[in-house]
């Protein structure tokens, strides 16, 4: 059978809209060296490299083969993972299986996106994810799909646009304590409501940005983590579920038994021995591409009942001083280098458990959850603990 796996280091670049000062291998090099430094290892200690981004958005084919030079992949076993928005968590999960398999005892996982490098554009790319005959003419990339899901949530729960806007206010507040976050400017509910409409009900400020940035995470076996003597985040569960190719099917699943985030979290909690997530988890890094998503997904994650996601925001449960701080990093709403975003959730959650989250550390965090989301209602989960 396989071996236990732990994260002992991570690194990120300072995410922003455009990195003009580095090319992609150089940008990745920043994240990789920071991760190795955090882990107290050198690249020669690494058995394999797993890397990924959304090359189609960036306009660079076989992007990993160029980028790897900055990531220490030279003469190492390497592979590329790419699954859309959840690429980052798919990478994180692949890193887990690399070491769990026993084929290697250490693995460096790298995710990045740098749309500016080749005049890339996200929505142009995402539109091609949809069926060319039936969906592409009417869907505007990820935004319209998320807009439809938000409308479904609003009609089912009565949540208003103003309530959803509170999620953005909260996220920006938290991002100010995160040196890597892209968007840190404070916003008010009025700012969000007045921002340009993209796809009802999503306005400009309801949506995550696109950022240039990279993230790297170091995985080792439990035995190696113990020998290493540094504080580790042990991986207790990984899960991944998707359920549709056509957006019409996604709406059909909303609020139903087959909701992928619900399924994924139920399976992950069972593996990790989590009976009540609100009590048993200390911090959550949730992949929220838009404001409404965070509200409905906290419900699907079992933090509260249907329609009650907003209460967790309003009563401070998810604030830094609350019972279950959500997205101390500022989340995806503040930072979104697509290929890295899910990996950043992983890096942030594991850093919390390792006590290495700096100014946005949640005191005494022992158990953390990281989620990833992408097309085809693809939801992924990793759960970390400070003990093996």
């Amino acid at each position: 059978m396989g071996q236990g796996v732990a994260i002992i280091g991570s690194g990120q670049t300072r995410h922003c809209s455009t990195r003009r000062d580095v090319n992609i291998p150089e940008m990745i090099h920043e994240a990789a060296t920071r991760a190795l430094e955090d882990a107290g290892l050198s690249i020669h200690d690494i058995g394999a490299v797993v890397i990924g981004n959304m090359e189609h958005f960036e306009g660079i084919h076989l992007s990993d083969l160029w980028a790897l030079e900055g990531g220490g992949g030279y003469l190492k076993p390497t592979m590329k993972i790419a699954t859309g928005g959840c690429t980052g968590t798919s990478l994180a999960i692949a890193g887990y299986y690399h070491v769990a398999s026993g084929l290697v005892d250490s693995c460096l996982v790298i995710g990045w996106e740098a749309l500016s490098a080749s005049s890339g554009e996200t929505t142009t790319g995402i539109i091609t994810a949809f069926d060319p005959f039936f969906e592409r003419p009417t869907l505007a990339g990820a935004i319209s799909g998320l807009g439809i899901l938000a409308q479904e949530y609003m009609s089912r729960t009565g949540i208003t646009e103003a309530q959803a806007a509170q999620v953005v206010v909260e996220a920006r507040k938290k991002a100010r304590l995160n040196p890597h976050a892209h968007l840190k400017q404070s916003v008010t509910v009025e700012d969000v409501l007045r921002s340009p409409l993209l796809s009802y009900p999503l306005k400009y400020l309801d949506m995550c940005p696109t950022s240039d940035g990279a993230c790297a995470v170091v995985y080792v076996s439990n035995a190696a983590a113990k020998r290493h003597g540094r504080k580790a985040a042990y991986i207790k569960a990984v899960e991944s579920v998707h359920n549709h190719a056509y957006l019409g099917d996604a709406v059909h699943f909303c609020g139903q038994r087959l909701e992928t985030l619900k399924l994924a979290s139920e399976r992950a909690y069972k593996k990790a021995g989590i009976a009540n997530p609100l009590l048993d988890l200390d911090v959550a890094e949730i992949y929220e591409p838009c404001s409404f998503a965070l509200l409905s997904w906290m419900e699907l994650l079992g933090f509260c009942g249907a329609g009650d996601g907003i209460r967790l925001v309003e009563n401070g449960t998810v604030s830094m001083s609350g019972k279950l701080p959500v997205n101390p990093s500022g989340g995806v709403l503040c930072t979104n280098p697509i290929g890295a975003t899910g990996l950043i959730r992983t890096a942030e959650a594991s850093s919390q458990v390792r006590g290495m989250a700096g100014e946005h550390q949640v005191d005494g965090a022992k158990r953390a959850i990281a989620t990833g989301f992408g097309g085809s209602n693809w939801n992924e989960i990793l759960i970390f603990s400070d003990t093996p």
């Binding site: 790419a82 790319g125 994810a129």
Partner: protein, 370 residues
């Protein structure tokens, strides 16, 4: 810690074509998956996890696996997508089974090269700042490497042509291939180079096609009392070298040498030229064959070792599926001769930046070592 023994129980390919205009990606992949399930008597419920492989660029579809999720049985299950060659997808599949959580994994790879303008796609793989504007494509990069090999006196034009003649002849007999025939070294050498020194018949075609296989654990085979011969996984090595053409000695390939060496070590193979009965390698251009064989320690192979019975990439080269097809072929070949050993080689990047080497041995489904 004793690793689980893992085997491929069956593999299926599509008949590749230059252009499968009338079918969608889902239909393309449904064909081999359905054939495999039918032949093995299995159902989607028997598949615990799925690893797919495709290229968003080649497909012209972002999250290219979305188009095929419904036919791979991955809905509601843990799955992922590798975006290197299909042979690398098998690596991740193997890891998922070795980790102990799953008993079976379906591996699927597909590409429809006809959907895109290949030269433009390939050009987009080169450094956007410094190299793209030179008009580099896989063909141009390959020609540069072939010329280096000739300049250094490592191989001759006759050897390049001979490798093409060999593969094209086998491809003509392969019902899954769409390109091949009987040619002579002389007629190839007499033809006009497309990109000096590479001749038209020395270039693998672009194809549309898909392949799949089912990877299972030994305990699953025992529980099912599986009867047919399987292909046991004996060894794996995979490795990537640097990217920039100007940064490396194009007349050698340390990544392949390392990958093959690790695979042989894992499988306990000391004399690959003698110990392997079947070899399926990925040469997108025929000049690569003598170089790959040399780096894999197979340069002195005897006639007793079958090379590219399928015709290799010369017969069909459906992008990211090509390496998985090499695996499917090696699996098929060793299963037809119980106890035999086979090598399957896949690669990614130009010209051969990243390599994956698999070793299989056929044997009974639930015994000890064959």
């Amino acid at each position: 810690m004793k690793p689980r023994r893992i085997a491929v129980i069956d593999a299926e390919q599509t008949r590749c074509e230059a252009r499968k205009a009338e079918i969608s990606y889902a239909e393309l992949v449904y064909e081999p998956v359905h054939a495999l399930l039918t032949r093995t008597g299995l159902h989607y419920d028997d598949i615990d996890t799925v690893v797919t492989c495709s290229s968003d660029f080649l497909d012209g579809r972002t999250i290219s696996d979305m188009a095929i999720q419904e036919v791979t049985g991955s809905i509601g299950k843990s799955a992922s997508k590798v975006s290197s060659d299909g042979s690398f997808a098998l690596v991740y599949a193997w890891m998922r089974l070795l980790a102990g959580e799953f008993e079976t994994c379906l591996v699927v790879a597909h590409s429809k090269c006809s959907e895109g303008h290949q030269a433009l796609i390939e050009n987009a793989a080169f450094d956007p700042l410094l190299q793209r504007s030179l008009g580099l494509t896989h063909l141009v990069a390959a020609a540069i490497q072939a010329q280096c090999l000739l300049n250094e006196g490592k191989f001759t034009r006759e050897q390049f042509a001979q490798a093409a003649v060999h593969d094209l002849k086998n491809a003509a007999r392969n019902p899954y291939a769409h390109h091949g025939g009987e040619y002579s070294v002389e007629e190839i050498l007499a033809s006009e180079p497309v990109c000096d020194p590479i001749r038209p018949l020395e270039i693998a075609p672009y194809s549309d096609g898909a392949a799949c296989l089912l990877l299972v654990t030994e305990s699953w085979l025992r529980k099912r009392a599986w009867k047919s011969e399987v292909a046991w996984v004996e060894g794996l090595g995979y490795c990537t070298e640097n990217n920039d053409l100007g940064d490396k000695r194009l007349s050698e390939n340390p990544a392949l040498r390392k990958a093959a060496g690790e695979a042989y070590k894992m499988a306990g193979i000391r004399s690959p030229e003698k110990d392997l009965q079947f070899v399926e390698i990925s040469s997108a251009f025929s000049y690569q064959t003598p170089l790959w064989l040399e780096e894999m320690g197979l340069a002195g192979r005897t006639s007793g070792q079958a090379l590219n019975l399928s015709g290799g990439l010369m017969g069909a080269n459906p992008g990211f599926a090509s390496g998985l097809i090499r695996v499917c072929e090696a699996v098929r070949q060793v299963r037809e001769r119980p106890g035999s050993r086979g090598l399957a080689h896949g690669m990614n990047g130009f010209p051969g930046q990243s390599h994956c080497v698999w070793l299989f041995r056929s044997g009974a489904a639930h015994q000890g070592d064959a």
